[in-house]
Structures are given as structure tokens and as C-alpha cells.
């Protein structure tokens, strides 16, 4: 992979990550307690089973390594690591 391709990966990740943050309120209402897969600022899969999400991402022709998958808590849920 060239440096430019990796820089593009960073840019796309940043864009998708910002997208989820901006939509956090909307997503917590629509997709609470589910995983959401995002690619190019589009929701491409939603569900409660992580492995099924990855499977669906592949079936839709995307490479999971280029997709951002995040758990969406409900509005009052806070996750401590």
C-alpha cells in the first residue's frame, strides 16, 4: 500500500468517525443498543449481532477493514472501559 493510499484511509476514517459523532443523538434514538456499520458517511448495516454485521458488510461488497463499526448506546447509557 502506498503512503497516499494510507493517508486516504485516515481521511475516510476521520470523516466516518465525525459523521457518527455528529449524528450521535439521532443514532441513539434510532439504533440504541445496536451496532452500526458506516462507510462513506452512509449507514450500511445495523444490528445487535456483531458477527452478522460483518457478514452483511461483506455481502454488500465492502471490505470490513475499511468500515467503521460502532456500538450505539441508548441516551442514558455510559460505557466505562
Amino acid at each position: 500500500m502506498t503512503e497516499q493510499q494510507i493517508l486516504n484511509e485516515f481521511k475516510e476514517l476521520e470523516a466516518d468517525s465525525s459523521f457518527i459523532s455528529e449524528k450521535s443523538l439521532e443514532f441513539s434514538q434510532k439504533y440504541a443498543r445496536k451496532f452500526v456499520a458506516i462507510k462513506d458517511k452512509q449507514v450500511i448495516s445495523v444490528g445487535e449481532n456483531f458477527e452478522k454485521i460483518i457478514e452483511e458488510v461483506r455481502q454488500k461488497g465492502f471490505d470490513p477493514s475499511q468500515v467503521l463499526v460502532q456500538y450505539i448506546p441508548d441516551k442514558e447509557e455510559i460505557i466505562l472501559y
Binding site: 500500500m1 494510507i6 475516510e12 449481532n49 456483531f50 458477527e51 477493514s65 455510559i78 472501559y81
Partner: protein
């Protein structure tokens, strides 16, 4: 050399994010990691490990970690074996269905901290920089044996950048939530 971090609202909380790119052989891909100074170790999450198709059978078990979600989370040590060891491992897996623990016994392998995970970071001048370090990864096959719910719970937790990341790579961490600014600076 400076690496900008992002302060962003993730999962209803403000988090400090480090975007990175895995250059691990056959597991290239994007990772959105969270800076967690409360964690002594850097841990590649179950979700990211599945997304990146990490070859779990290549790694050996390490001490399960307490505090990641409910109960203890089994983890593997990213530990590059020689080609011949990998070939033997796959062969044994197929023929004898031995476990990773058995492989470890057969080979007498102990955690080797000189073998490392390779990744890229983007610096403030828009250049990529490569790093290597030992890394723990959630042991997805073992988590799965405890049930799908356990795996889904583990997948909620993102990849965590622990104190070892800062120490081993000589990074200083600067954070100002008031100015919405955070970055890593590489000590020369």
C-alpha cells in the same frame, strides 16, 4: 514530531481518539482507538480483531484481563512466530485439533516481547509514520465459546491505547478539553 488526536463524543461520552492504520500482514485496515490512561496495556478490541480478520491461531494465550466489560476477557499476545512454526501450527490444528495451549506446550513458546504489531500514524504534516510494539488482542474464539452475547458485549468496547503505548513509543500526551485540543508528541 506531533500527532494530532481528536476529542469527540463517542458512545455518549467525550473521548480522546487516535486514528491508526494496521500494517499487520494480512490484517491491514483502519482502527479508531481510544486513549485510555487508566489501562496499563494496549488492547486490540474483539470488534476490530474480527473486522481486520486477525489470524487468532497465530498467537498464544496471555493472562485474561479483568475490568474489560463483565468478568475477565481472554486475550492473546500478538507474537510473530517463524514461518515453520506457523506451518506446523496450522497442520496440527487441522489434523489433531489441538488447542493453542497445546501448541504452546509443544513448542515451548513463551511470550516474546521482541515480536510486535505494526501500524501507521499520521503526523501533523500529513505524513505516515510506522511503529511497532507488542499488543494484546481480544481472544475472539475463546470469547465466542462463552456465547454470542459475550462476544457482542466484548465488541462494544473499542481498541484501547494504554500507558504502554506512550511509554514504549516515547510519546508525551497533551490534552486540553477546554481548548478542544489533544496531541501526542514524540520525544527525541
Amino acid at each position: 514530531m506531533r500527532f494530532n488526536l481528536e476529542i469527540r463524543n463517542i458512545q455518549n461520552s467525550k473521548r480522546i481518539i487516535l486514528p491508526l492504520f494496521s500494517r499487520q500482514a494480512r490484517s491491514f485496515g483502519r482502527i479508531e482507538a481510544i486513549i485510555d490512561t487508566g489501562s496499563p496495556r494496549t488492547i486490540l478490541s474483539a470488534g476490530d480483531a474480527l473486522r481486520l480478520n486477525i489470524p487468532f491461531t497465530n498467537f498464544e494465550s496471555s493472562t485474561p484481563l479483568a475490568g474489560l466489560g463483565k468478568g475477565k476477557t481472554p486475550v492473546l499476545l500478538i507474537n510473530k512466530k517463524s514461518q515453520s512454526q506457523q506451518a506446523v501450527g496450522y497442520s496440527l490444528s487441522l489434523q489433531l485439533e489441538t488447542t493453542r495451549k497445546d501448541h504452546s506446550k509443544l513448542w515451548g513458546i513463551k511470550p516474546n516481547w521482541s515480536n510486535k504489531f505494526t501500524f501507521s500514524l499520521r503526523d501533523s504534516e500529513e505524513k505516515t509514520n510506522n511503529f511497532t510494539m507488542p499488543l494484546l488482542v481480544a481472544d475472539v474464539p475463546r470469547i465466542k465459546k462463552e456465547g454470542q452475547d459475550k462476544l457482542n458485549n466484548a465488541a462494544r468496547i473499542p481498541t484501547l491505547i494504554g500507558m504502554d503505548f506512550l511509554e514504549l513509543n516515547s510519546f508525551d500526551l497533551f490534552v486540553s478539553l477546554n481548548k478542544n485540543s489533544a496531541y501526542l508528541e514524540k520525544s527525541e
